[in-house]
Symmetry: C2
Subunit: 479 residues, 2 copies
């Protein structure tokens, strides 16, 4: 007895992108709001995406020799204060434990907003000789940054992430690590999330608290807004000096090691949603989708249909695919809409006629193209459509980026684009923070995203002040 | 040029078991102390054990239909107070956040000591019909319980764990889940950690705050002391009533669902150390050992030795084994001691003579038995010795348990055994908390571990008060 059930409506992107996002995260059951201000509940479907992200990234890290560790979640206030720029950057957004075991603590404990200080304290104990280097540590954990305005995945008071912290004997090696890990992020975004994106160096104004240099990956969302998707930092020896970390080098002199850190977080799920989604809901990149293919039987009450559907499911599971068979009594129409909403990349339909023909139908979530395929080679057919979905998603993201990237040759053009064309602006820049501040004020929020690795020379002068230009910068609004 | 390096000495178990433990966790590089009171740093070698534990357990949970989620780490004080027994149990050991973003918070936030209350708040939102049940959720996370006296892995203010929280339509189903998950833990301890252990039900006095019934696994450590290794709880509808969680059942009446929770933590690493270790250091059960086999080349400067060792390493890696080749310039003697200390289950020695004979030597960490094996079938030979080490470890743990379990038929015997024989005591019990209190006081710490599933009838009367006995209890001191 099929009961008619409606898939919940979502606001259209064009009407209200923010509301579309909120509808999707809630109705696709990725998150729920909790009673704790600014903290989210990551539901099974959302957490499964995170698990797939973790598995993929963790393998990339380990392949490069990184090891996982776990540091305490509390940082004594005095420890956080050891590196001046760092504490200035994080103090305003700290959660502070003042009571433990019903007693006022002698020293207040900061819930980690990031763990440079804890890693440094440990490195001081375990690094003594060049033989102890490099140290290539990473940790997967929760961190807390007290936020006034929050949105699921994009900006929450608590979030999940990985933070790599490495120590090297030489500046060259540390700089290489900083760039290497940005490349890992870039590859991961492109190969796994189907999000090709701009990468480059942050300006002095935008870099991480305490870093000498910060590199970033800046994927563009469907509406032209940037999301800072991951950063890697070269610290020089600043922390090492503050924490008195030294090693005896091959030449028998005592030196400070050179440091990096790098991190990506559950924000990436926000990037997936806003880079790929459409007005029917989520579209999940196949390589992290919790369900890669959903099997929907037609006329499932007829003899042999559910048996065939189950056999198909087992066959696909055996091939290592993530499969769901929905044999509930909801209507086929409801199921189609439901799994579109949930962003399942491939739908597989099978009914009595298909079974008679030894075939089934595959439908792409992106293009809705239908393909009749033989059951004989179904694993390869599904895998091929998953790869096709991945490529289609990548191509759409690249096209969106190309269409929404504009060149501003002077101040007037810059303000005009900022006012009328959502997206990125390429413009020359003199190198002064004052110009970044001015452009941000004048446009109500357009900031430098990065100095991209592939700089172009658009003109000789800064698009803000007209003085000689030093760099081309990609500018944009951000989440 | 081999430089002589000494493996650091550890205190012998017989001399001082506590110091032996401290030496092992520190010198085998499992943990380091941090500047934060009661919190530990889990180092790469220790964390890799945890990752192997997680991977194995997580697969067992998922196979039974459980899904992972992530709840906030903060619990508003009012939420924790909703279930009376629960808050009484945890309030004394809470860490409390009172400041966020440089502002005094209107409501204090408790850093989760466990997450029943958060799960219940969420379940209230998502459970409405019998169709929504069961909910089988689990989370991997950090929790905080403020401890006065701490020891790495065994008792730390912050630790890592998993907590399963499930909701069911009927009492029967929830009780079945509670017992099923204890069985999962028991199987995991035996099959993966090589620790066969006693399981049973906690007495009223020892059960979890808010639970109707608590079940436990109580592995015995080498010195006869118990470690509470994992617990599962049946909550009835107590939380559901306190949190107003209801569902409409098939019969159209509104009911409260029945709840369970269950958890194991990084304490398990403490159990591994104290159940299996010896005076040469750690002995890691092969199925969670970060390095299952260490290859130590003999006369590695001679032509062909390192090539052969590397080829062997690749072969074993390809077979899915966790392998390390130590081709450092430390002496073979140092390497032998070092990897014994680190508890690597199997050592593989290969030198010029072995290569000429197409063979190598395998050495078991447990028995130190040497076995000359052909290189032709080396993957199977190594796997066989790993299985043998697993079985030897299990057998030793069982023997230790048998040798250190004593029967007390009366009060005098109980006190005599408690004073003179470290280990477990089997004794009859009347069911009164007063007798548990008295025995604990008289013995300076012997407590009921559990009413085991396989109760025996040792006598008709309580070994404490002499009144009619209700149960056989296993008693013991604990970590």
């Amino acid at each position: 007895m099929a009961k008619e059930k409606m898939v919940e409506q979502i606001t259209s992107m064009e009407e209200d992108f923010g509301q579309w996002y909120t509808d999707v995260v809630k109705k696709a059951e990725l998150v729920d709001y909790s009673g704790v201000k600014g903290c989210m509940i990551i539901r099974p479907y959302g957490y499964a995406i995170w698990e797939n992200i973790q598995k993929d990234l963790d393998a990339r890290f380990k392949k490069l020799g990184h090891e996982n560790v776990y540091m305490p979640m509390f940082i004594p206030e005095s420890l956080l204060q050891k590196e001046k720029d760092h504490v200035e950057g994080f103090a305003p957004e700290c959660a502070v434990v003042t009571i433990g075991g019903q007693t006022q603590l002698a020293e207040r404990l900061i819930v980690r907003p990031t763990s440079e200080t804890l890693f440094c304290e440990h490195y001081k104990d375990i690094i003594h000789s060049y033989r102890d280097l490099p140290k290539l540590y990473n940790q997967w954990c929760n961190v807390v940054r007290w936020e006034k305005t929050t949105r699921p995945f994009l900006r929450t008071s608590e979030f999940l992430w990985q933070e790599g912290h490495t120590m090297h004997a030489t500046e060259e090696e540390a700089r290489q690590e900083t760039l290497q890990m940005l490349k890992v992020y870039e590859d991961f975004y492109r190969e796994t999330l189907a999000i090709p994106a701009i990468t480059g160096q942050k300006t002095e104004k935008e870099k991480f608290a305490g870093a000498v240099e910060t590199y970033t990956i800046e994927p563009m969302m469907h509406n032209g807004v940037a999301l800072q998707g991951g950063t890697t930092h070269y610290f020089g020896t600043g922390f090492a000096e503050a924490f008195d970390i030294t090693f005896t080098d091959r030449d028998n002199t005592v030196k400070h090691p050179h440091q990096t850190s790098w991190g990506v977080s559950t924000r990436m799920i926000g990037a997936i949603i806003m880079a790929h989604g459409d007005n029917n809901g989520l579209i999940l990149p196949p390589r992290v989708a919790p369900i890669q293919v959903v099997i929907i039987p037609a006329a499932q009450h007829k003899e042999g249909v559910l048996e065939a559907a189950n056999a198909l499911k087992d066959k696909l599971l055996d091939a290592g695919l993530r499969v769901k068979l929905d044999d509930s009594d909801n209507s086929a129409g409801w199921k189609f809409s439901q799994y579109e909403m949930k962003g399942v990349p491939v739908r597989l339909e099978i009914g009595p006629r298909d079974i008679a023909n030894n075939s089934c139908v595959l439908v792409s979530r992106v293009t809705r193209e239908k393909k009749f395929v033989s059951l004989d080679n179904i694993e390869a057919e599904v895998q091929a459509m998953l790869d096709q979905v991945h490529n289609e998603l990548s191509a759409r993201v690249e096209q969106n980026l190309a269409e929404k990237t504009f060149v501003a040759r002077n101040h007037e053009e810059f303000l005009d684009i900022a006012a009328n064309h959502p997206g990125y602006i390429k413009a020359m820049w003199c190198g002064e923070t004052a110009c970044e501040d001015q452009l941000k004020d004048e446009t109500g929020g357009v900031k430098s995203r990065c100095i991209p690795f592939n700089e172009e020379k658009l003109s000789d002068v800064c698009a803000c002040c007209g003085k000689p230009a030093k760099h081309m910068v990609v500018w944009g609004r951000q989440y």
